[in-house]
Every structure is written in structure tokens, then in C-alpha cells.
């Protein structure tokens, strides 16, 4: 079992470090668990995931992030990735001229020891089996990464990468945004298929509907930069019924 521990994390934009966005976020995720983070827009959900992944635009002003008790904050983004951290982007970048197959190949190669060569046959075999699992057409991987993709294709591309790179912890940032219901189902099925005791998931979402398809073990409500309420999946239903104002009001009266 592995753990990802986020300890009293404070995050601000690198260019304005005195304006905190994430304000004392704490959470421990174990492999085998799926944690849903819900909350209204502008509450710091995306900032949290990017800061954990090491995006240069965000500065961690205090607190710590540890994998199996070891802080990852001094690590470069690529070292964090190779340590088992995967971020499924809300808005994935386009990489013109680089096919998905070649991109993933480079990413897999980067995980091998120096001097070790990737087994191309094995790689493609695995790639195709993951594509079958996610019901992705074979032609898809010859397209340039995210270039001219629809919202659904971009998210599917993220899930495929996740399936290939087999992270220990996946931070999924609004993976459901911009998806129609069919695409949502496919993505959810993919995540569910990867679910297991080797993977811990932090699922960031604005809406409850994704949680119909990926049933979380824990639901946390994030508001104003930290977790204000935690519970099981019933909390998601409650939120859906009562709206985020319910949490706000509860905070005020508390």
C-alpha cells in the first residue's frame, strides 16, 4: 500500500504569493481509494492539483506533500511524474506534430533505467490492449496529441495516457467537464477498470453526475481553499440536492 499525504497545504500564484488560493488543505489518500473533491468554481480545486504536480505558476507557501512519507516538493514535475503521480488535465495542451503513440512511447521510455531500451513490440501490444479497453479506435494514436481534438477526445486521450503509464496516484481535474453523456460513460468505465489496490484517485469534479459512474469511497467538499466537509458518497447526493449554498450557509452558522 502507498500513501499520498497532503499536509496543511497553502498555495498562491507564483507572481502574487501574498494572495493565497489554497488555504490549509489536508488529505491522505491510500492506494485502493477514490476520493472525490467537490466544490464551487474558484475554490482552488484546480490550483491544488497543479501545485501538487509542480506547475511553475503556483507556489506552495507552506505545508507539504508526501508520497510514502517522503516530501516531493523539491522534485521537478517530471520526477514527481516518474514517482507515480499523474495529473489528468482539465485543459490538456496540444503538441503539434507529435503522435499520441510516439508521445506515450517517449513517456514510457523516460521511466526506464538509463541505457535500457523500450521493447517496441511489448509497448504496442500493451497500447492496443488499453485502447481496446477504452474503446478507442486504432487510428486515434497516430493523431497529434490533442491537436484539433474535441473535448471528449482530449479527455479520452488523458485516460489512455493514464492507463499506459499506470500511476500510483491520479489527480483527475474536472475530467467530466465538456463531455456528453456517452463520452462521460466511456471515461468513467475506463477509470473504473483501472481502479484497484494499486491506484489511489483524487477526483475533482463540479457535478455529482460523474460520481454516478465512478462511485467514490470518500467525498470531500472544498470551499475557500480547504476541505470543509467530508463524508461518503451520500454527501454527493446531499450536495446535488441542496446546492453549494447549503455548505456556505452551514459554514456561516457554524
Amino acid at each position: 500500500m502507498h500513501t499520498l499525504e497532503i499536509r496543511d497545504l497553502h498555495v498562491a500564484l507564483t507572481e502574487s504569493p501574498d494572495k493565497p488560493i489554497v488555504k490549509g488543505f489536508s488529505l491522505t489518500i491510500k492506494t485502493g481509494e477514490v476520493h472525490a473533491i467537490m466544490g464551487p468554481n474558484g475554490t482552488g480545486k484546480s490550483t491544488l492539483s497543479k501545485a501538487i504536480a509542480g506547475h511553475p505558476d503556483y507556489a506552495i507557501t507552506s505545508g507539504d506533500v508526501l508520497i510514502d512519507g517522503k516530501s516531493i516538493l523539491e522534485m521537478e514535475p517530471d520526477e514527481r511524474a516518474r514517482a507515480g503521480l499523474f495529473l489528468a488535465f482539465q485543459y490538456p495542451s496540444e503538441i503539434p506534430g507529435v503522435s499520441i503513440a510516439n508521445f506515450l512511447r517517449a513517456a514510457v521510455q523516460a521511466r526506464l533505467a538509463e541505457g535500457e531500451e523500450l521493447d517496441a513490440t511489448g509497448y504496442y501490444k500493451k497500447l492496443y490492449s488499453k485502447m481496446d479497453l477504452l474503446k478507442i479506435d486504432r487510428k486515434f494514436t497516430s493523431r497529434s496529441v490533442n491537436e484539433g481534438f474535441s473535448g471528449g477526445e482530449k479527455k479520452r486521450c488523458e485516460i489512455l495516457q493514464m492507463a499506459m503509464l499506470e500511476p500510483t496516484f491520479a489527480l483527475m481535474d474536472e475530467t467530466d467537464s465538456g463531455l456528453d453523456i456517452d463520452a462521460l460513460k466511456i471515461v468513467a468505465e475506463g477509470v473504473s477498470a483501472m481502479r484497484g489496490d494499486k491506484l489511489g484517485v483524487m477526483l475533482i469534479t463540479h457535478y455529482q453526475r460523474l460520481l454516478d459512474h465512478i462511485v467514490p469511497d470518500f467525498v470531500h467538499v472544498m470551499y475557500d481553499g480547504r476541505i470543509v466537509k467530508s463524508g461518503d458518497k451520500s454527501l454527493a447526493f446531499e450536495l446535488e440536492a441542496k446546492g453549494y449554498d447549503w455548505v456556505k450557509n452551514e459554514l456561516v452558522t457554524a
Binding site: G54, P56, P92, I95, G97, V98, F103, A106
Partner: protein, 480 residues
């Protein structure tokens, strides 16, 4: 005489973790005993010396001497080109070096130290393939040449230009200096005065040369200018692909490379000329390349420029016959201290002619890339088409790119399209790739390879692999 250039061979310790390639690959030199050496500096005597060593016919000496005068009379083109040209010290350059060898016919006859040099070019598997059909140039003279039987059986002449002048003067003389006249520019004049080596190819009517003809060559002496002269004639309805690639050792003082390449595609013929070059960053690479495409003929230049201190090269096609087609595909990568001043020329001179230019440049660090394009479609013609696309990628904030497209179109039945773009690899892109486990340098390399990918695909397989390696090597140390 024994002129021992005493730079020791570089050791083998530097290994590129990305491509698994020896980084010092362009950095070595072997002792070569130069039997013929024209000394440094350029005078009439130098030209006479070269001509006599080569046992040339009187008309060639006359041609050379006239060219020398043209060279001396012409000013440096610094009114439009970079002032860096003024830093070339013509008195310090050696204009002729030769081992005095006859081009070799079989690999066994090639001296071991030369084999070793080829080995270190880092393309062993490819070597095996092209050894049978290659004309590889070692310094001024071809040290190795072996015309593959099948090519000769088809009646194709493939040899170095010195040999061609001796053995095939009637064909040579008919086309030599006709596409690029001596006085075209200062450096074509220089080449005409002191040329040595280079390839001569003649493809008879209707012959389609199945495998590409290749020439690998290197500069291997300090302060030594290489002035090869290549002439390719594709007779009616024939087809040929020619590939040249160069990697030069790195030296502390400037080296001048000034080639002239002339192509003639007669009616319905097709010529494809492919270049991948990786000059050391002290080389002035000032090359004139042009082809004439007759009726229904097609000339395509595929050109990749990496390295050198200054490269000035604008492959051109004169579209002389109806429905002729010209194409230039070019990739340039300028790193710190390098200036790639490249582009294309398309001169439309007949109805219904088509030209295509696709140029992509990458500027790294303080590297500077310049695109210069000239497209000329005169008023009396009908139905001409040109499509120009030039894209520049800037890697660092201090990188530089300039674009100077000159398109002159007169008449009202032509179609011309011009697109240009400048882009930068974004921080967001790099972060995205890093999040997948690639280092910043690997991410940058991948982004650059992606940028040129559609053009790299037009290179033959083994070249595109080599090109990718070269780009990876160039991108190392560009970030952080």
C-alpha cells in the same frame, strides 16, 4: 609532404543519454598525409596549381582564371546580407588538399583510417547499405567511390567531377556553369575558380534510378575550404534521387565551405536532391544551388541545415518548360552563435508552372534564423501557381527569426498563396510533457521534433532518424 594536423582524436566518454549517441561525434580528426596541398591564400598561382595537379584541359584552367577575376571584382553582398561575411579571411584558407588518391572502387581498398572516420560518423548500419553505391568524399577528393553495377548497367554515370571532366568532357561542358553562371554571386565565382570534388551524375533518357545515390563527405583539415562542384543531368523522362550529408569536425578557426550545385531536368525528368548537414559551428557555409526544370519536369530540393557559423543557401528552380514543377522543403536550426540564412528561389519562365516552398526554422538560445524567399512570375505567362509557407519556432526569449519573402507576380491568371507563422514552445506545453515523465530537455526536443515532423517525413527513413538525433543533440542544454 606530411602535414600532420595534431588535434588528438576525442575520447569516447561523452555519451548522450537521450539518443545513446556519442556527443563528441563531430569532434574528432585523424592524421591524414596530404600529398597535394595548395598552401594558404588565393592567387592566380593557386588556381594554376590546382588545375595542373588535376591535369585539366586548357579550357578548364581558362574558366577558373576568369572566375578568379570575377570573384576578386565582386564586392561582398553585405548591402543585404550579414556583415559577418567580412570576417572571412581569404588569405588564411587552403584552397586545395588531396591525398592524391584515385577514387576507390571497392571497400577493401579504402585505407583503414578513412574507414575509421566513416565509422565515427555514427551511421554504421546505413554505411553497409550505401557502400556499394556511394560516392563518399574525403576532403577534396573522393576517397572512396563505388558505382553500383546496376546503376552503371543502366547507363548512369556517377563519379566525381574531376573524373567527369576527364572522361565525359562533352556532356560536362554542355551543362557546366549554365544553370549557375560564374558571376551569379561572389561565392559561385570563388567556387568556379577553385572547385574540386563533388559529384557528376548523368541519367540517360527514360532511366529510373531505383536507389538513391549518396555521397557522404567531411572536412578534415583546419582552415580548409571545401569547394565541391556538383552537376546532375536527368535526361528526358528519367528519375534520380541524390542525397548528400555532411558532418564536419569542430575546429577553432573558421572554415569556409562554398559549393555550387547545378541540376538539369530535361523534358519530363524528375530530380530530388536531399541534403542533411551538420557543420561545425565555425564553418561559413555559402552555397549556391539551382536547377532548371524543362517541360513537365520536376525538381525537388529537400534541405536540412544544422550547425555552421553562417549558412547562406537558397535552393532555386528555374521553371523553364511548360507545366514544370519546383519544390523546396527546408528545415533550419540555429543555435547559439549560429545564423541560418536560408530560403528558396522560384523563377517561373513558362506557362502553367507550379512552385511550392515550405520552410521551417528553429532558433535556439541566441541563434538566429532568417528566411529569404524569392518568387518571380512575369506578366506574359499564364496559369502559374506558387504556394509558400514559412514557419518559425522560437525556443528561448533571446532567440531571433526574420522573414523576408519577396513575391513578384504580374498578370491575372496566376494563383499565389503565402503563409507565415512564428510560434514559441509554451510553458504549458512543457509542463504537460513533464507531467508525463519527460525531462524539460526531452520535452523541448519532442516539441521541436513535432514542429518539423511533417517535413522530416519527406526525408528517407535513415535520414529522418539521423535528423531526429541531430535535433536531440542540438536541443540539449537549451533549457534550464
Amino acid at each position: 609532404m606530411a602535414d600532420t594536423d595534431t588535434l588528438p582524436p576525442a575520447d569516447d566518454t561523452a555519451v548522450n543519454p537521450v539518443g545513446g549517441i556519442d556527443q563528441a561525434v563531430g569532434n574528432f580528426q585523424y592524421d591524414v598525409n596530404y600529398e597535394f596541398d595548395a598552401g594558404t591564400g588565393l592567387t592566380e598561382d593557386t588556381v594554376r596549381y590546382i588545375s595542373s595537379v588535376k591535369k585539366e584541359a586548357p579550357w578548364i584552367l581558362e574558366f577558373r582564371l576568369k572566375a578568379l577575376q570575377t570573384f576578386l571584382d565582386k564586392p561582398m553582398p553585405t548591402h543585404w546580407a550579414t556583415k559577418d561575411l567580412e570576417n572571412i579571411d581569404f588569405s588564411k584558407i587552403r584552397y586545395y588538399l588531396s591525398q592524391g588518391q584515385k577514387p576507390k572502387r571497392t571497400w577493401d581498398e579504402v585505407p583503414d583510417d578513412i574507414k575509421q572516420t566513416f565509422e565515427r560518423l555514427g551511421i554504421p548500419e546505413q554505411e553497409r547499405k550505401f557502400l556499394a553505391g556511394v560516392e563518399a568524399q574525403f576532403d577534396s577528393e573522393a576517397a572512396y567511390s563505388n558505382i553500383k553495377d546496376i546503376v552503371a548497367k543502366q547507363g548512369v554515370i556517377f563519379c566525381n567531377s574531376t573524373e567527369a571532366l576527364r572522361e565525359h568532357p562533352e556532356i560536362f561542358k554542355k551543362f557546366f556553369g549554365k544553370v549557375i553562371p560564374t558571376g551569379d554571386n561572389k561565392f559561385s565565382a570563388l567556387n568556379s575558380a577553385v572547385f574540386s570534388g563533388g559529384s557528376f551524375i548523368y541519367v540517360p533518357p527514360g532511366v529510373k534510378v531505383a536507389q538513391p545515390l549518396q555521397a557522404y563527405f567531411r572536412i578534415n583539415a583546419e582552415n580548409f575550404g571545401q569547394f565541391e562542384r556538383t552537376l546532375i543531368i536527368a535526361d528526358e523522362g528519367s528519375e534520380v534521387v541524390y542525397m548528400e550529408g555532411c558532418t564536419a569536425p569542430k575546429f577553432s578557426t573558421s572554415t569556409l565551405h562554398s559549393a555550387v550545385v547545378e541540376l538539369v531536368a530535361l523534358k519530363g525528368a524528375k530530380i530530388q536532391y536531399i541534403t542533411v548537414q551538420n557543420w561545425a559551428n565555425n564553418v561559413f557555409n555559402l552555397v549556391t544551388k539551382r536547377g532548371v526544370a524543362h517541360e513537365d519536369a520536376e525538381i525537388k530540393w529537400i534541405d536540412c541545415n544544422i550547425g555552421s557559423r553562417l549558412t547562406m543557401k537558397y535552393p532555386g528552380v528555374v521553371l523553364k518548360g511548360k507545366r514544370a514543377r519546383g519544390e523546396v522543403i527546408s528545415i533550419a536550426l540555429a543555435n547559439d552563435g549560429q545564423h541560418q540564412d536560408t530560403g528558396a528561389k522560384m523563377i517561373h519562365a513558362a506557362d502553367d508552372t507550379t512552385s511550392v516552398i515550405v520552410a521551417k526554422s528553429i532558433s535556439v538560445g541566441q541563434g538566429r534564423s532568417t528566411y529569404r524567399g524569392q518568387v518571380h512570375i512575369p506578366k506574359h505567362l499564364k496559369g502559374c501557381k506558387n504556394n509558400t509557407e514559412c514557419d518559425a519556432l522560437l525556443i528561448n526569449t533571446n532567440s531571433r527569426t526574420d522573414t523576408y519573402p519577396a513575391i513578384t507576380v504580374r498578370g491575372d491568371t496566376h494563383a499565389v498563396q503565402h503563409e507565415a507563422s512564428v510560434s514559441k514552445v509554451s510553458e504549458e506545453q512543457i509542463f504537460y510533457m513533464q507531467q508525463r515523465g519527460l525531462t524539460e530537455a526531452q520535452a523541448m526536443s519532442l516539441a521541436v521534433n513535432g514542429f518539423v515532423n511533417d517535413l522530416v517525413r519527406q526525408f528517407p527513413m535513415e535520414y529522418s532518424v539521423e535528423l531526429k538525433r541531430l535535433i536531440d543533440l542540438e536541443m540539449e542544454g537549451s533549457v534550464g
